[in-house]
């Protein structure tokens, strides 16, 4: 759409600006404050320069949780995106079943995150949970509070359960914007199922898929509540992702300096990836 140049439009943005800036600037400045200084309480601060940053960037603990985080995010995107596309492609297009499917599929998205964690905790309990009991009675040794592999599997499956529907909904939206004529034309040309997917459906889903992956990257990189309630970061540290580690350092040990430095490093990483995504997305839209 052609947009008119009008700097008065700033007035329309002012309310948003005030509210978001209030919530973003002041806390961010607090974090920056702590990241470069040492405090022993009483509002007395000593300049520390980049000490905390060096400490965080060299610490094996940070590297370990960063690697866990990257593996986790990679795994869930690799599972959720193809699964989401497959479900969206096979969903009914018209009639009563569309509403039924949409309502049921959107349900996990609206359950509070700690309830998701608690629900999966109950579901996976080895002796009394539906999943844990079934797996164990099938002869699979499964105990997510003791075995790192079981804990990882449960966390990943929980996230797939929780968020695949978001990708389904977005892809479904992209698919339903394809006019019937396209399919008819493809049918007349004798196009294969794969050709229809590759040249009609996938291009139409490209924009929503970019958004879906962007959202999933951001949200899974910040994941805290669900694994915290499910496993508490354990057994040991095996499911301690970045946010869990950060809260442990900041609120558990009250090491504010290193926590603040880690926060900034963490935030910058998310920002960098999202900026790259955003630039690609905007370039595609302009074409």
């Amino acid at each position: 759409m052609h947009k008119t140049q009008n700097n008065k439009a700033w007035w329309l943005v002012v309310p948003v600006l005030i509210l978001v800036a209030f919530n973003a600037f002041i806390p961010l400045m607090t974090v920056v404050n702590y990241a470069f200084q040492e405090t022993f309480g009483d509002n007395v601060f000593f300049w520390e320069g980049t000490t905390w940053f060096e400490q965080v960037l060299r610490s094996p603990r940070f590297h370990a949780s960063l690697i866990r985080q990257l593996v986790f995010t990679g795994m869930i995107i690799a599972i959720e995106v193809p699964l989401g596309i497959a479900v969206a492609l096979t969903m009914p297009r018209k009639g009563l079943w569309v509403s039924v499917c949409l309502v049921l599929m959107a349900l996990p998205l609206l359950i509070p995150w700690n309830v998701v964690g608690a629900m999966w905790n109950i579901f996976a309990l080895p002796d009394i949970g539906l999943l844990g009991y079934t797996l164990n009675s099938m002869g699979i040794d499964f105990n997510f509070t003791r075995q790192p592999i079981s804990a990882w599997m449960t966390t990943v499956v929980m996230d797939v359960w929780h968020w695949t529907s978001l990708i389904v909904l977005l892809c479904y939206a992209g698919l339903s914007s394809i006019p019937d004529d396209y399919y008819q034309a493809a049918h007349i040309d004798g196009a294969s199922r794969w050709a229809i997917f590759r040249y009609i459906q996938l291009p139409k889903m490209k924009r929503v898929l970019t958004i879906a992956i962007l959202l999933r990257f951001m949200d899974s990189f910040m994941i805290y509540t669900e694994p915290f309630v499910l496993t508490g970061g354990g057994p040991g540290n095996t499911t301690t992702f970045l946010s869990i580690d950060l809260v442990k350092i900041a609120l558990g040990q009250f090491d504010l300096g290193p926590a603040a430095a880690m926060s900034l490093v963490y935030f910058l990483m998310v920002l960098l990836v999202c900026w790259a995504f955003y630039t690609i997305m905007m370039r595609n839209e302009e074409q």
Binding site: V31, A106, A250, S263
Partner: protein
Amino acid sequence: MTRSTKWLVPTLYILFLMLPIYGLVSMSFKTTTEILGGFSFFPQEFTLANYKVIFTDPTWYNGYINSIIYVVINTLLSVTVALPAAYAFSRYRFLGDKHLFFWLLTNRMAPPAVFALPFFQLYSAINLFDTHLAVALAHCLFNIPLAVWILEGFMSGVPKELDETAFLDGYSFSRFFIRIFIPTIAAGIGVTMFFCFMYSWVELLLAKTLTSVDAKPIAATMTRTASSSGYELGLLAAAGSLTIIPGAIVIYFVRNYIAKGFALGRV
């Protein structure tokens, strides 16, 4: 895939989604002895005792009321301020518009864990700690950017001729906006409210950090009960099952908007 087996994928997927929910709901109807006694697919001694505790104990049911209050305040606030801003982004080019839009989005990307402690200090300093307003305002951090993003997508789908015709007909900006423009993008507003409701309802970390007694959300009540009074699984399951209901109601109301709306907006 042939037509006859096509229904299988969504059906299996929905079954996978429903199983953990069934596990939770069926556990909420069991007695503690039955739960700890071993696994049973159906409740053997069906009981409503867990629900009775929640509906009669104020610390429990106030949790629900608190959560709903701050979620509603946040949704209304976010959509109200996001509407004019999204209009500006979709219709005009102005100084720094692209940078501003990306800056807004960066706040959606900020991990809440980063902001938990500073938020606590900030809202304590302005005497809003433990109020519904504090949580509603804090959730604006990620909900306003999201609302602007979704609404901007919907508004860009409305042809500009609509605005121009209305202004030629002598409509003032505010009258045009309220009388014509808002009804036109009603579906978009519905979808946006759904997303704001969703993210505010499910968030726990900030809501828990900013409250202690008076505005404590149900999610926080649950975590504390789970740790303080041993492990009352039945009660926890009942409380969890009840948190699914508001979400289910909201989805039911916007189901047609979602189907129609998703394609229009960018999200």
